[in-house]
């Protein structure tokens, strides 16, 4: 990446926190108020993890590697005894493998996109106005999602909902909350910790004033929130991440990424946009990836939090951009084998 491009990239990354706050502050407060009547059970009511589930955890996110590396299939077939927390975007993929995670976590306040993770009753209308999912490199079948697929997802979630415990942020949009109720999920509520609550104008403080729910740091995305839950709420000492790519496989066309069109609007120049992605080489296998400013920001946030954490975390995504001296990578099978009493094969 050239100097000029790096400057632009860094400028965008630096602005993201403030941009996100400005964009979401009204949603956070409005949704906290709207959800007050629904938030009848706090995460304080969660039962403590016991036995093997108190020893280790896998957090499943919805990055491209979760499908390419068949992470969910490996977890299911291994009969992994530890706790499993799945991000909302990975929930249906779990159910398709006949696997119900111990907990699902949902956070994003987007009014139309998030409900897709639970089957969208208004799929046609939402798909007409928004190609956000259609153009991304997620599960190809999801990307080519049709009405029929969506109906299948609604039925799956309705079937497994009564067995599902979900950690719901107070900023969840109304259509997600409606689907959780419709599918009889067991919901535990919390607030996202989004800023310094000691400040008078703190959004976190404002949400807490509305509903008195505990506030949990999210790192800006649901996967990192799942990791924070594992270490700070469930107090699990050993945590593995999978599907936490924070980036795209090298062969993914830039036009298929989440931010391509937004960057084009912002920078006004295709050449400048193409320079706005940072390259990485994954250490375990040499696979190449790239990231955009938002994913880079998520990566930075996670590494900041990791620096202050006391648990042992390892990245079992087997791809992506989340690695450095403190964020070690391991093959998922090797991590799982540790908790079945099998030695790690190095």
């Amino acid at each position: 990446m050239g100097k000029a491009a790096l400057y632009t990239f860094d400028q965008i990354v630096d602005q993201i926190s403030e941009i996100g706050r400005d964009r979401h502050k009204d949603d956070l407060i409005r949704n906290a108020q709207q959800n007050l009547d629904h938030a009848d059970k706090s995460i304080k009511a969660l039962t403590k993890a016991k036995g093997k589930k108190a020893e280790s955890c896998i957090v499943i996110s919805a990055g491209p590697s979760v499908h390419k590396k068949q992470s969910i299939k490996k977890i299911k077939e291994s009969n992994y005894p530890g706790l499993v927390i799945a991000a909302d975007g990975a929930y249906i993929a779990c159910l398709k493998q006949d696997f119900v995670p111990d907990y699902v976590i949902t956070l994003d306040p987007h009014p139309t996109r998030m409900v897709r993770w639970f089957g969208d009753p208004d799929f046609e209308e939402h798909a007409k106005k928004d190609d956000y999912f259609a153009r991304q490199d997620l599960d190809v079948k999801f990307r080519e999602n049709t009405l029929k697929q969506n109906q299948c997802h609604i039925e799956l979630v309705n079937k497994y909902g009564p067995q599902t415990k979900i950690l719901v942020a107070s900023c969840a949009p109304a259509n997600v909350v409606a689907r959780l109720k419709e599918s009889s999920m067991d919901a535990y509520w919390w607030n996202p910790l989004v800023d310094d609550p000691s400040q008078e104008d703190s959004l976190t403080r404002a949400m807490h004033k509305i509903n008195k729910l505990p506030c949990i740091n999210t790192g800006g995305n649901v996967g990192t929130a799942g990791w924070v839950f594992a270490q700070s709420v469930f107090s699990i000492p050993n945590i593995a991440l999978c599907g936490m790519d924070f980036g795209y496989y090298e062969e993914t066309p830039k036009e298929k990424t989440q931010l391509y069109y937004e960057l084009l609007n912002h920078l006004g120049d295709k050449e400048k946009v193409l320079e706005c992605f940072m390259d990485f080489k994954f250490p375990l296998n040499g696979d190449k990836f790239y990231t955009d400013p938002t994913y880079y920001w998520y990566r930075k946030n996670f590494l900041d939090l990791l620096d202050r954490s006391t648990c042992r975390s390892v990245n079992c995504t087997e791809g992506g951009t989340l690695f450095d001296d403190k964020m070690k990578c391991l093959y998922l099978d090797d991590y799982i084998n540790q908790y079945h009493g099998c030695p790690v094969i190095s």
């Binding site: 941009i19 994003d108 807490h208 999210t218 202050r308």
Partner: protein, 75 residues
């Protein structure tokens, strides 16, 4: 059009007569505000799916802010 340019144009055109049709300065301003609006929308989408600014606490439950030890939960 920059403010200075607008003033200069008015000065040049002042002369000793009044123009029949007043000069419409709104076009450039409208264009700027549309561009600015597009930029703001683009930036808003760059903000990702969730706000994150908190750099110290993992959790908080209504207590006054304290120095956070590594990984310590509150409340």
């Amino acid at each position: 059009m920059a403010k200075g340019g607008r003033v200069m144009q008015e000065e040049i055109l002042k002369g000793n007569f009044k123009v029949k049709r007043p000069i419409d300065q709104g076009g450039e301003e409208k264009k700027m505000s549309v561009q600015e609006e597009l930029r703001e929308r683009a930036l808003a989408s760059l903000g990702g799916s969730m706000v994150y600014m908190e750099r110290t606490n993992f959790t908080w439950d209504g207590e006054p802010a304290q120095d956070d030890k590594k990984g310590k939960t509150h409340g």
